[in-house]
């Protein structure tokens, strides 16, 4: 059975200053199976974040349905956790305090259980020894790991990730991708993962969804056949590169149609 069902969801933003509507995404339909890892790629501004926020229950939507385990999403829920692009850690809490934050708010676990889980997930993301550091005292990559630990510790069924590694340098990013896959294999969550990087999507996901330029629609879905566990070397496999290339071409077409259509986004170099 599908864990997550997105059915014909459309979202428009109302631009107060120009008194007009901007369509962000239109008629998006997507199903994610239990334990599946689905990545979404698409040109900038195509409504990926919008879609994720709707699934997270942070954004109201008027058209279509989002269902988790068959139940319509009406707001944030304990069955979901979000890993934001900006780590969004409470700067006045230590790493421990931040990892337990989600569990504290949920109030689902008893105190000793919260302690146990906090310790376990700090270990899982490899941050033991930093329990008492403040977010400002650790690197961006480590902050993102805290962000991930906070989400996982709250025990969601569905993990929603919005370009969680976008701000990291190339090496840290690769390391985090491998870590994420390792953690995902242990925790077996359903994951919806948004990214700009095509090879990140292909490396991580069971399926890669390509969205069209604004208003975002689903343009194509690619099944990624590679067996798991996947080594980082997979990224240099010719079959991997072939899939990456096909997705590239598709997005390139989309980006060109934005530029040709005279959209408001500034032109990206190197089309």
């Amino acid at each position: 059975m599908n864990k997550l069902d997105i059915q014909n969801v459309s979202k428009r933003y109302w631009l107060e200053r120009e008194s007009r509507e901007v369509p962000a995404c239109e008629g998006v339909t997507l199903s994610v199976a239990d334990g599946e890892f689905v990545a979404i790629v698409g040109p900038s501004g195509c409504g990926k974040t919008t879609l994720l926020n709707i699934v997270a229950g942070l954004l109201p939507y008027e058209e279509g349905h989002v269902r988790i385990d068959g139940e319509r999403v009406e707001g944030p829920g304990v069955d979901r956790a979000v890993v934001f692009q900006h780590a969004s850690l409470l700067p006045w809490r230590t790493i421990t305090g931040n990892v337990r934050y989600g569990m504290e708010l949920h109030g689902r676990f008893a105190k000793p259980e919260i302690e146990r889980r906090t310790e376990r997930f700090i270990r899982m993301v490899g941050l033991q020894g930093f329990e008492r550091a403040y977010p400002s005292e650790i690197s961006g990559g480590m902050q993102q790991r805290v962000n991930l630990a906070r989400a996982l510790a709250s025990d969601p069924k569905v993990l929603l990730m919005d370009e969680p590694f976008a701000a990291l340098d190339a090496q840290t990013r690769e390391f985090m991708q491998a870590e994420l896959l390792k953690i995902w294999r242990q925790a077996r969550k359903t994951v919806l993962f948004i990214t700009h990087q095509i090879n990140e999507a292909v490396y991580l996901a069971d399926r890669v969804v390509v969205m069209s330029s604004r208003p975002g629609r689903i343009k194509d879905v690619f099944d990624i056949p590679f067996a798991r566990p996947r080594a980082l070397e997979l990224k240099r496999d010719p079959r991997f590169l072939a899939i990456e290339d096909r997705i590239w071409k598709l997005i390139e077409e989309e980006s060109e149609s934005i530029l040709a259509g005279g959209a408001s986004e500034p032109a990206a170099p190197g089309a």
């Binding site: 900006h86 969004s88 409470l90 989600g102 708010l105 020894g129 400002s136």
Partner: protein
């Protein structure tokens, strides 16, 4: 796996550091030395000037000027007569009561005003008008309204300290990071939880900035209100000494207020540093 080895070395381990008495107390040594020097020079000039005043043509009149030793003498005298302790208690009481009330009201109202946009828009014109008016200008009005005695003095201290605390608290609540609110909401935080885990801790550094300014303004309030109301207190002592040409007592009062100011502001600063230790070092 470079990152992994990195991850097992604790970040908070203090670096080995040689202690150096001068370096550790540089501020105190230089600052304290300068104060001692200035006081000594002042005393010398005052003694020198007084020696000449035995001549027909005195260079310095004790009416217009005084020296550290004379101020010390005034301190001993007023302390022994019990006048100074009772003035101190009176002024301290005015300050503590007025300031505490200002702190409670400023923080609570500031959070409400900062949090609810509608409340803020409704109150903004009044706040701006009040904030722009020198509160001292209201003193005669307050005396008319609250009569003679302690109450008007306390009200003036309250008004002086209240606005800086209020305004800073509002700014603190208003500038809370949207991303943090979003993260809290994604974990199903209730309004109360958002308030206690995000809004309040996020505004503490701002509240403490307000406290520091409130202390300074409150002390001004103490002096000014007692000058107007009269009867008792350090402010009254300064005003009365002025009328009776007791120059060294004026200096004594000013020195006491300066000392109280330094003490209280540095305490507020220490409190602020304590609550801001999570902030990145600048």
């Amino acid at each position: 796996m470079k990152t992994e080895t990195l991850a097992t070395t604790p970040v908070k381990e203090a670096p080995a550091r040689r202690t150096n008495f001068y370096k550790d107390h540089e501020g105190m040594i230089l600052g304290g030395g300068a104060v001692v020097l200035v006081l000594a020079a002042w005393e010398a000039a005052w003694q020198h000037g007084r020696a000449y005043s035995l001549d027909a043509e005195p260079m310095i009149s004790a009416l217009f000027f005084t020296g550290p030793s004379a101020v010390l003498g005034a301190l001993r005298e007023t302390w022994a007569s019990g006048q100074l302790p009772s003035d101190l208690i009176h002024s301290g009481g005015n300050f503590v009561v007025g300031f505490t009330a200002a702190l409670a009201a400023g923080v609570v109202l500031g959070i409400v005003i900062g949090w609810f946009r509608t409340v803020r828009l409704l109150l903004d014109p009044f706040l701006n008008a009040f904030y722009a008016t020198p509160r001292i200008a209201l003193v005669p009005l307050i005396i008319i309204m609250f009569g003679i005695g302690r109450l008007p003095a306390i009200v003036i201290v309250f008004l002086s300290a209240f606005f800086p605390i209020l305004i800073n608290t509002i700014v603190g609540v208003k500038t809370i990071d949207d991303d943090l609110l979003k993260a809290a909401r994604s974990f199903c935080a209730s309004h109360m939880q958002i308030f206690t885990t995000v809004a309040l801790p996020g505004s503490v550094p701002f509240i403490l900035t307000g406290v520091r300014q409130g202390v300074a303004h409150g002390l001004i309030g103490v002096v000014v209100s007692e000058m107007f109301v009269g009867g008792e207190g350090i402010g009254f002592m300064i005003a009365y000494s002025g009328q009776t040409f007791a120059t060294e007592r004026i200096f004594l009062g000013v020195a006491i207020m300066a000392g109280a100011g330094i003490l209280l502001t540095s305490a507020a600063e220490r409190l602020q540093a304590h609550f801001s230790r999570w902030r990145p070092e600048r």
